[in-house]
């Protein structure tokens, strides 16, 4: 597409040259194909509809080397830095994309937690469907191509049929922040068996200040009557660039509920996609971003209803202060024949600064007629009357503002059943909330 590959693309090609072959023919071929696609298409540009509000010109000029796996494997990580209240199950830790067996545990019966390399060594065939996936959207899929070509580490999580796991599994992505202009890539595969149930907490933290890029591609499959609760807590440093894609497939009667809290990051893109393939399956998503400074966060939600009597609900809240930019796209697609679908989406945003921007695009694509589908989106400010009410009861303006802002965001987290975790996320949110315009 472009004449000369950008420094970003050149560096990625160099990085790929240093990755040894796995010896699994289809996997090596898939990596090569993905790399070729990435090299051919480059990063998406302004004309790409999917990347319209997230320019990558600055990123394209950065030559990022792969993060040093030796250093990542040896880095001391303080356990208290990654611990989360209410999250006491098995833990899997990646540091700069490198699996850390010494920090990870796998003790629960009925759950298989394997590093990607280990799972491939045991039996690569079950992973073939996900790992040999072809992404067909050209440059819009650039990071999926990149991740497929360069992610040598990852996690395979399997929950056996009928097993219900009470204690949430904690998946931690630590960015060392140690060496500037480095990148790491992780691939996650979650396979929730029939009538199985599990909660997973995906957690992003940064230790140092150096600017890094992380990409994570997660493939989720929830089988008949299975249940997944996924919580994503993104608390990376404001120097971090994160590009994540979470793709879930739901079989009949399966449910998945996703809660996302985006706090940190310089440039963050999250593509959350659900194929609701089985009858009566349900996919709910809720999320909050609270931005300040020069942060840029882009959430792309797409829920595709492909079967009868499926349901989805999406509730997203955004706050932008300083010079930040919040982007949200929420698409509901109801395929032909997906009668009985009940889908709704709500996206509300607070714009707190004259230098900040919010771009939102709720979409409906409906090809069936026995359907209830609705979406609503707003961009505005705190309600003046509510502020007045609080002030008339003696609450100072700044406090009234933070109370209302918090209430605005919390709607998205309220439905999280894990109480300790919910409280913790609420506290993190309070600590991160922009203060808004100074008190009168």
């Amino acid at each position: 597409m472009t004449n000369a590959p950008s420094p970003f693309v050149r560096a990625a090609l160099d990085a790929a040259a240093g990755i040894p072959a796995t010896g699994i023919a289809w996997l090596d071929a898939a990596r090569r194909e993905n790399l070729d696609s990435f090299a051919a298409d480059g990063l998406p540009e302004g004309r790409s509809e999917a990347w319209k509000y997230t320019p990558l010109r600055a990123l394209a000029q950065r030559a990022l080397a792969l993060a040093d796996r030796g250093a990542a494997g040896a880095l001391a990580v303080d356990a208290t830095r990654i611990a989360l209240p209410g999250v006491d199950g098995d833990r899997v830790v990646f540091v700069d994309g490198t699996y850390r067996a010494d920090l990870s545990t796998a003790t629960t019966a009925g759950v298989t937690l394997l590093p990607l390399a280990g799972a491939l060594a045991q039996n690569p065939e079950p992973l073939r469907f996900a790992l040999a996936n072809r992404y067909r959207h050209g440059a819009a899929d650039a990071f999926a191509h990149l991740n497929a070509a360069l992610a040598v580490d990852g996690l395979v999580l399997r929950v056996d049929d009928g097993v219900e796991i009470a204690r949430p599994v904690h998946v931690v992505h630590v960015s060392s922040g140690g060496q500037a202009d480095t990148a790491w890539h992780v691939r996650l595969l979650l396979d929730i068996g029939k009538a199985a149930s599990v909660d997973v907490v995906e957690h992003y933290v940064t230790l140092g200040d150096a600017a890094q890029l992380g990409t994570v591609v997660t493939d989720i499959s929830v089988r008949e009557h299975g249940r997944l609760g996924l919580v994503v807590l993104q608390d990376a440093s404001t120097a971090t660039t994160l590009v994540r894609r979470t793709h879930a497939r739901l079989d009949a009667d399966a449910t998945a509920t996703v809660h996302v809290l985006e706090l940190g990051g310089a440039l963050v893109r999250h593509e959350l996609q659900a194929d609701v393939n089985g009858d009566r399956a349900r996919f709910d998503s809720r999320g909050v971003f609270a931005l300040s400074g020069r942060q840029h966060i882009d959430t792309q939600l797409e829920v595709r209803h492909q079967a009868r009597d499926t349901a989805s609900e999406a509730l997203w809240r955004g706050i932008a202060d300083g010079r930040s930019r919040g982007v949200f796209r929420g698409a509901i697609v109801v395929a032909e024949g997906a009668d009985g679908t009940d889908a709704s989406l709500s996206n509300k945003n607070l714009l707190l600064s004259g230098q900040a921007e919010i771009d939102t695009k709720p979409e409906l694509e409906i090809y069936a007629d026995e359907v209830k589908a609705a979406h609503g989106a707003t961009i505005g400010q705190l309600d003046e009357r509510s502020l007045f009410y609080l002030r008339s009861r003696g609450i100072p303006l700044s406090q009234a503002r933070s109370l209302l802002t918090l209430a605005f965001c919390r709607a998205a987290l309220e439905s999280l059943p894990n109480e300790a975790l919910r409280e913790h996320l609420g506290d993190l949110l309070v600590a991160n909330l922009p203060t808004g315009p100074a008190a009168d």
Partner: protein, 492 residues
Amino acid sequence: MNESENMTREVAAPVRDNAEVEAALNRRYEAGFVTDIESTSLPPGLSEDTVRQLSAIKGEPEWMTEWRLAAYRHWLTMPEPDWAKLDIAPIDYQSVSYYSAPKDGPKSLDEVDPKLLETYEKLGVPLHERAKLAGVAVDAVFDSVSVGTTFRKELAEAGVIFCSMSEAIREHGDLVRQYLGSVVPVGDNYFAALNSAVFSDGSFVFIPKGTRCPMELSTYFRINAINTGQFERTLIVAEDDSYVSYLEGCTAPMRDENQLHAAVVELVALERAQIKYSTVQNWYPGDENGVGGIYNFVTKRGDCRGADSKISWTQVETGSAITWKYPSCVLRGDRSVGEFYSVALTHHRQQADTGTKMIHIGKGTKSKIVAKGISAGRSSNSYRGLVKIEKGADGARNYTQCDSLLIGKQCGAHTFPYMEVKNPGAIVEHEATTSKISDDQLFYCLSRGIGEEDAVSMIVDGFCKQVFRELPMEFAVEAKKLLEVSLEGAVG
């Protein structure tokens, strides 16, 4: 259709029912006839020479020819847009004739070819005596040229200029030069550039300061000749404290080829001026298998240049095989107001990608969008809209409501609203719903002895009410009828 009606009247009572059924079955696109009239056309093809020839036929001044050529050269450099949710067969721009006019050209209304008058009579457009009764001033555009404008004297007394664009270029060159292309620049988009190069006629309206236009103005567009495109250009300028309400209607014969229509409409509202623009678009939609029909690529934009000005778009879109149309408002003046009310109905294989853009630039600007989409058959109906609040638009407000109604299992209804906000003092709200006609609603009507088709048309009418309310009365009646005809055969 007329024939069937006559038949109905003539036959005896007992067989009347059959005849009515027959009439209903035969009822299709009522405006689909062809007028057999001699016309002069440019041969198909598009080049700088075509543009020059066209300009020469119209006796245009040098600046106009150059303006067209600049647009043509720019058009050559542009790619065809592909972002709309439309499946468009490739268009061969060289196979279109860019000019076709009834042979003896436009004259005063009294001398217009009776065949032409008949055509407009048939379409229900009052060009002659009836015009006086209807009280609406009409500019009739037949293929590429305006064939007559009514009520000229009355309008002139009020100081209002209402004439064809060709005449305006000749008679009011300075005004046209000042405003033409100032809202939709020649290179704005692919189809606007094409239109700028080859537009053949259209209407020009100028309402001077402090004038309230004494009657509704209306332009009726008719494509008749085969293999021609229609590229009209409308420019409405409302000076300070003026008001005008403008209506637009369109039809074309039924043909198996797709015909191209690429219009540009520019509205300029100065201080405290108000423009109300209503469209009933009924171009030939093609048959039930998607053969034929008009490709309708239209750029409509209003510029609220003055403070406290207001531009209101109302559209009822039932025709065209493909509709690509986004009437927009640039809210530049402080406290200016933009409105968009739309009903878009698609049936059979029709495709529509339509909506609006509201660009808030001035302080305290307000906009309201009410869009209703109805899809039936195997059609695809998309709402695509942009609400953009620029940094300086303190206190801007927008409210958008999009509702879709699905009739049948094979159609699609889509909503793509874009909201871009850069001012923390603005409030933007969007709501959309998609539903079908509920069985409860139908059952209620049926149990009261209302037939299924009538019930559907009542429910659809209720669904569209918010928009129809905005239409001038005669148009509202026409729009309602049009929906009924367009929906025929959609249920059962």
